[in-house]
């Protein structure tokens, strides 16, 4: 008797969860069907990287395609670049949006980097082809790496940090990258010696640490809204260490072929419409005004009449 009632409770819970899950699924399908003549093809799985800008970018691409009638599955943002590239490589993901210079450091870490987006694209296009993916047109929107200091710091360019013994803060990823910590400290590049090296999660905590003078220089991104809000300054990369970091969609080639030219031209049209100012505006909404990235994405798409 006791056993069977326990079983009934467990069953009820399972059914409730399943119902809730299918209810959510229905919502997505409904919004996807609004696009009129829906393009035929496989479901496109997309996942953003786990920081607010990448999450919003993924939402923008996913909601845009969904409104066009594509069958889209958007996964919860997780991981960073390595996980995104792995997802493309093993087929878990069909579409990722990455910063092109970052893609190069992941796939071709030993090739010289360049501040010209076309040069970077010419390196990563064959690299992505090898893992069965196609790099579509890059966007004019750039979110570059930035070595950021407090406004009152006595430095304008990165090489000014030589001999200053600054405390340095960056994410764990930075410490193994030639275009980041390794480049800043290598004698044949910047040759900076930092007084202290701290690992800080990429995101708003970097700004908090800089402001609280826990560290004196942090590796952030140029579209971090706190940089202007807190009066920080971005040091000039006078030795050209940072690569071009335009955003570009990278799509599983089989998925792309299944849809034909419509998908690539749709994606290229969207990429062309996004500007660096848009990225900054999204980040202000998500990081300063603490709004959800999917709302920010939906609002922007509507304002740009893309949905």
């Amino acid at each position: 008797m006791k056993k069977s009632s326990l079983l009934a409770i467990v069953l009820a819970v399972v059914v409730a969860i399943l119902l809730a899950a299918t209810a959510c699924g229905d919502d997505d399908d409904d919004s996807g069907a609004d696009g009129g003549a829906a393009p035929e093809g496989p479901t496109i799985t997309i996942r953003g990287q786990d920081f607010s800008e990448a999450e919003t970018i993924a939402e923008v691409y996913a909601q845009y395609l969904q409104a066009k009638g594509y069958d889209i599955e958007i996964l919860t943002a997780a991981g960073f670049r390595a996980e995104a590239v792995d997802g493309i490589r093993n087929g878990d993901l069909d579409l990722i949006v990455d910063y092109i210079g970052g893609s190069q450091t992941e796939l071709r870490p030993d090739e010289d980097t360049s501040a010209s987006p076309d040069d970077v694209i010419s390196v990563i296009t064959p690299a992505y082809e090898e893992i069965g993916a196609t790099v579509l047109d890059y966007s004019p929107a750039v979110d570059g790496d930035a070595l950021v200091v407090r406004g009152d710091a006595d430095a304008e360019k990165i090489s000014d940090l030589v001999g200053k013994n600054f405390a340095f803060g960056a994410s764990a990823q930075c410490y193994e990258r030639p275009q980041c910590f390794i480049g800043y400290t290598a004698p044949d590049v910047y040759g900076i010696e930092f007084g202290e090296e701290k690992t800080i999660e990429f995101g708003p905590l970097l700004g908090e640490a800089l402001k609280a003078e826990e560290v004196d220089a942090v590796v952030w991104n140029t579209t971090a809204p706190q940089i202007e809000a807190e009066g920080f300054k971005v040091l000039e990369d006078d030795k050209g260490l940072h690569p071009a970091q335009n955003i570009a969609p990278i799509i599983n080639t089989e998925t792309l072929d299944a849809y034909g030219d419509t998908l690539s031209s749709d994606l290229n049209a969207l990429s062309a419409a996004i500007s660096t100012e848009d990225l900054l505006q999204w980040n202000t909404e998500t990081d300063i005004n603490k709004r959800e990235s999917d709302d920010v994405a939906a609002e922007w798409l509507e304002a740009e009449s893309l949905t």
Partner: protein
């Protein structure tokens, strides 16, 4: 940028787990395992001392007076439900703005809140459920209330209290690595760097270290209990914990 040697704290992805563990540099360098372990142990020891100083007197005195059973237990159970990472994460920006830095306060407070509930509950239970015959006999023999608490209730309940401390210590040691995500280092740095740099060696090596430390803490403290407790109290603990 080819030809730049990997330096700083980075470990190449090609280095195998065994190779990493068997390299003395891994253990003794400035940011190696031993300094990180010491860092972790110092913090955890501090947390445990503070948690014990709060939870044991509180639990013992309330249980002795038979007071606040429901309120105190409720409050402690809320503490139990608090996600340690969220507490520490909330405290970090506050601490930074106050000029107290990343460490140690946010993680210290969060871990102390984690450690208090098991110690408090075991202390309360130990005193509350100590053999009433022995307590009555002590009172009849003219023991003061203070003596009843210290020489009867706490003495009889020592096993259960130590078990609570052991449980709390294992939880603290196993949770402390989250501080690597809050601007700190300690043993959790390897898991953080391994995840961040997609480096399996660091990730798995770090996980082994953290799990190993938690296991060792449990075992060593269990052994310590055996050494400290008199045979009679140890037996008592078995029958007592059955009633808990």
């Amino acid at each position: 940028m080819s030809g730049i040697q990997v330096q700083g704290s980075a470990v190449s992805r090609d280095v195998g787990l065994w190779e990493w563990f068997s390299n003395p540099e891994t253990w003794t360098s400035e940011r190696g395992i031993l300094p990180s372990l010491l860092d972790t142990l110092t913090l955890c020891a501090g947390v445990m001392v503070v948690a014990i100083m709060i939870a044991v007197p509180l639990g013992a005195s309330l249980a002795h007076k038979r007071k606040g059973e429901i309120t105190a237990t409720g409050v402690v159970n809320i503490g139990r439900a608090l996600p340690t990472f969220a507490v520490a994460g909330l405290l970090v920006p506050i601490s930074l703005r106050q000029g107290w830095g990343f460490e140690p306060w946010p993680i210290f407070i969060a871990l102390t809140l984690l450690a208090i509930p098991p110690i408090y509950l075991n202390t309360y239970t130990a005193v509350r459920q100590s053999n009433s015959g022995a307590v009555e006999a002590a009172r009849a023999m003219g023991f003061s209330e203070r003596d009843v608490l210290f020489r009867v209730e706490l003495a009889l309940g020592a096993g259960l209290i130590l078990a609570g401390i052991r449980i709390a210590a294992v939880q603290v040691v196993a949770t402390e690595p989250i501080r690597a995500y809050l601007g700190g280092d300690g043993l959790g740095r390897y898991v953080r760097d391994g995840l961040g740099q997609n480096n399996q060696t660091l990730l798995i090596g770090g996980a082994i270290l953290v799990a190993g430390l938690a296991t060792a803490t449990g075992l060593l403290m269990g052994l310590g209990e055996r050494l400290v407790l008199p045979e009679g109290v140890r037996r008592l603990r078995v029958s007592q914990s059955r009633t808990v």
